[in-house]
Symmetry: C2
Subunit: 258 residues, 2 copies
DNA sequence: CAGTGGTCTAGACCACGCG
DNA sequence: GCGTGGTCTAGACCACTGC
């Protein structure tokens, strides 16, 4: 046997073989892999070893197993793109927002503000705020985004924003018209984190997978927060894009390249 | 045995037990778990079943195994924060950029543009561009960021930007001074994706884990690209934050809430 | 029903790090 | 040398799906 033969564990070599088949197009998205018993005899090994190889590929997101049916090549790189140029078409809008998404308000009313939102909204923990929760579905009715908007009661309390109906125009436009204040500054905070159990369930994800979590904070010219909005996407399905003008003016003469 | 007893698989219950111990503080970050043989006898089961439970917790990022030593509770929620207010202190800078990071230029010179950058740079695939690669390390000398800047040869070719030395001031300032053109608009593209083998290696990640990948494109007032810059962080360690002004002007009266 | 993946056993031997 | 986790075996039985 050559030098490279026994270097790698057997389950690793099986995973490599299947991965190569997927990369080379021998196995295409949606194809069913041979049964575990069959792969085991092909590689002259035992079923548990094959299962270990499968668990590697499953962790890499390349395959998906369905109990009683088989193991399938996942439909990979099906990235959706979403832009966040919510404030009009004046500049840089690139039309990525796909209007075929179905949009559903799952809740509208007042609720205590979630812990991770309180800071952004600039209110004490536990404060009651107007909350609008939404779900977005693609043309195949698959959930692609979970989101929510949080508005201070001084702004949206007692208005139609507490009612569970899609608003007649962009939400920020409603707030501007209701209050006479203007959206002047924004702050985006993006994290990738492991999906919660609820998200795994709702999105149909696998254990240990990630979501992208955007928290968007909009303020008026006095720095008062008008709205905090959050969006959650399965990490593999999204590219978050933002355009913005670069402020003019003097800059610090730091040595940092970054 | 009660109704709930045999409902969940044994490996699942073992994982739950350990997870609860971690949540409750019985097992703290850095603590070593009992040996697999020991856990097996505690739960009256076999070692492979315990190993299956461990693989669940490993996928969740809660534990980490070191061959020949033991299995340890990971130091979780050690999020670092990084802001990306690179264009001066004029507005909204919140000082999150930690200056204790050590900054190292690992490459400077001309290279063919990477495939995923060509589009952003607005050049044909394979074009040679000035490339500057950097690594950032924290106070404990752990790699926290991999990054690179790509500049068209018309802008940076033949200048000191092709030399492997930290620049005397912010990179965008160098480009503005060299060319007389101004950074006017920017586009940020953020994705979370599985770490490549190289990234797993460099960052010391575990298989199947994620990185956050930022591609930043800066253009002048004519829309010509001045610089594309990318940053890669382990997903668990970073919050990406951006501040920006909201453009004034009329907006479309769409029904979309998002 | 047959075929699939999911769970589990009771071992074996190897590779690694430490004393 | 010893204890640790890593690899692997050759089965067993169960749960799910589709026919």
């Amino acid at each position: 046997m050559s030098d490279t033969g026994p270097r790698l564990p057997k389950y690793h070599r099986i995973a490599d073989a299947v991965r190569d088949d997927i990369r080379a197009g021998v196995l295409k998205a949606g194809d069913r892999l041979p049964a575990e018993t069959s792969i085991a005899s092909t590689h002259s090994t035992s079923v548990p070893t094959v299962r270990q190889a499968m668990s590697v590929l499953r962790a890499e997101g390349l395959i998906e197993s369905r109990h009683g049916i088989g193991t399938f090549v996942r439909d990979s790189h099906r990235m959706q793109r979403r832009s966040r140029n919510r404030y009009g078409e004046a500049r840089g809008r690139d039309g990525l927002l796909n209007n075929t998404f179905r949009h559903e308000i799952t809740f509208a009313g007042t609720q205590p503000v979630p812990e991770h939102i309180a800071d952004c909204l600039d209110v004490p923990a536990g404060t009651t705020v107007v909350t609008r929760r939404r779900s977005l579905f693609d043309e195949d009715n698959r959930l692609v985004e979970l989101g929510a908007s949080y508005l201070p009661r001084e702004i949206a309390g007692g208005t139609f924003l507490e009612e569970r109906a899609v608003v007649p125009k962009a939400l920020f436009r409603c707030v501007e018209d209701l209050t006479g204040r203007r959206y002047t500054d924004a702050r985006d905070q993006v994290t990738a984190r492991r999906a919660t159990d609820a998200e795994v369930d709702r999105f149909g994800l696998s254990l240990g997978s990630y979501v992208l979590h955007l928290i968007h904070t909009a303020t008026d010219e006095n720095g008062a927060v008008l709205e905090v909005s959050e969006s959650i996407w399965p990490a593999d399905n999204v590219i978050f894009v933002d355009h913005y003008p670069i402020p003019a003016g003097p800059t610090g003469e730091t040595g940092s390249e970054v």
